[in-house]
Symmetry: C2
Amino acid sequence: MPGLLFFRVLFGPLPVTLIATPQSMHFATTLELAGGGSLQAYDLSYETYGQLNGEKSNAVLVCHALNASHHVAGVYLDASGQIQPRSQGWWDTLIGPGKPLDTDRFFVIGVNNLGSCFGSTGPMHRNPDTGEVYGADFPVLTVEDWVRAQARLLDALGIEQLAAVIGGSLGGMQALSWTLQYPQRVRHAVVVASAPNLTAENIAFNEVARRAIITDPDFHAGHFYRHQVVPKRGLRIARMIGHITYLSDDVMNEKFGRQLRAWAEQVGADRAYRFTTQEVEFEIESYLRHQGDKFAEYFDANTYLLITRALDYFDPARDFGGDLARAFAPACARFLLVSFTTDWRFSPRRSRELVRALLDNQRDVSYAEIDAPHGHDAFLLDDPRYLAVVRSYFEQVRL
Amino acid sequence: MPGLLFFRVLFGPLPVTLIATPQSMHFATTLELAGGGSLQAYDLSYETYGQLNGEKSNAVLVCHALNASHHVAGVYLDASGQIQPRSQGWWDTLIGPGKPLDTDRFFVIGVNNLGSCFGSTGPMHRNPDTGEVYGADFPVLTVEDWVRAQARLLDALGIEQLAAVIGGSLGGMQALSWTLQYPQRVRHAVVVASAPNLTAENIAFNEVARRAIITDPDFHAGHFYRHQVVPKRGLRIARMIGHITYLSDDVMNEKFGRQLRAWAEQVGADRAYRFTTQEVEFEIESYLRHQGDKFAEYFDANTYLLITRALDYFDPARDFGGDLARAFAPACARFLLVSFTTDWRFSPRRSRELVRALLDNQRDVSYAEIDAPHGHDAFLLDDPRYLAVVRSYFEQVRL
């Protein structure tokens, strides 16, 4: 078929469906934690895509943010070998065969963090010391702890040095921490829509979400598993707050504006207010409720608390009197930082602080500020300029 | 005392303490409401400051926002004639003898809106039809309804035309509505930190707050009075969300930053993280919890729903296919609009939309965009440029 050949010469190989297979690894050596606690044994869920080369020089670690997991790219198959609907990994726009982070060239590892509710050891698992479900007794974790657990996974996989570590938002904080805790093990760090620490406003939003969960009568001080209930009210509120702040005002206006819920049209009535305080009136309300309901069905309340706290605590300049340049003196990776103009939770200003601190240390830094309308969510979307920046950065990463 | 005289010549009269006395007026004529309901009889709480002149041409009506009341200026005396601590009216920076809105010259009226929990008829009062407390059965109110109730109060006070109507935020929406519903009864409208309608993001924040209240098990679908409980969890969350969004990111960083709660210093320990997900760690958390706790002690949950809905519904351009200029064609008042650069809930862009619509109608508009750091809260604070703008505007209002 010369036509198809011509097409392939012009546009490269046809897209290949990447099939993902979750794996798990058990660790039996105690992990001491920054908060003073420890985990004597734990499991980490992870996935890998592509092939590790003979020199083991092409590994890229992907760190996840708030509600994501090790399922970074590709799709899952069901028992009959069919592709499961909506099973794409959370960064499938960015990672895969021929994609900006090209799994034909790189060996990509997605890892689920400790404390999560997607497979790695977390609050819903049994504490081997007591035989009871951890619940609120699961130790508080930091970004640094996660990175040390990830380093052990790399040890087990025989990977001494990463070609790159990449993450967005909280994942970007982990990428930053890698360059500080294991400077010799990271050649490149790609830090998207992230920050050197949270602002007061960000901590405040996290705190409101946590309060909604903690004050839900079904939370039972974190031991709700024993009561066979889930603090869904709190989780819903937490997710609604999150959704508002991940989007930009402009995108919300464009997507929902002041549109009323479709019911008015359905019953053929005039598009009029219902005049209700307790029921849905506007489309945006319906959207948020739906997002909250979905989230409350699958996310763990203790995990939510742990992960938002890890966000709050991350602050590498803290031990250096707030001097970010001094904090980043140990880092010797090359950096790509990306921010999005309408991201008001992890604003370009925060990325520029990181760029400045790295430049003060004469580090090799590329920085792209993408004029995207989608707010913080942009890091998960397929803005072509953003994808092109990441692609061109990875193209120059030597193996 | 020539020294004192000299002082008074230089600096004007010594400050006079304005003593406020709440009043109430009963209305026995049915008020038909925009939402289809009605109130057969109701009371409005109000206060007045200064003297109505013989021509009744110096009256200024002050409209309140979310959680304020008729107590706009001055202080209250206790039973023994002493000034009650912290009893200043909510706009005491702006209104009083010698202040920008000068009660030596103007007769100022503060009025509490229907549905509020500060004296005017609201959800916690008895429905005369049923003898039961209204609760969730209190009719849904709009900005337009409030203005019509206010107009009846002016009728009763014998005031045909206002020298001015003034309000901030939701109060500014009422001032706008005055110029549309009663164009002949308003010579000037002062609209501070307001908007022609809420954006999707603003509706979204209101909705999360409402969901927190409605899903609080103590809410009982709005009939919590019968159960002798108060949905305090929901009210706390609602208030915390409000507080975050009324402030600017910068002010929160300046005021709280990433400061830890003072406990660490008190026990002489090193300033270290406690590593806790459920307890307070940062100052901002402590502040928000305190604000939430205070609010839940005095504010009514049904009132919160009603008032946020009135905000959501206000949209004078709605009946004109979104054409704000056409909507404002009837207005013939002169206008002062003020916005604050860091106000992200009622941003300068929204005030400029109003300015444009008024200019399209060849109206007389003054507009000040104040470079203040305090976010939406700035309209309640004593920024000298802001106060000077309001002062100079009222100085040219003819009586």
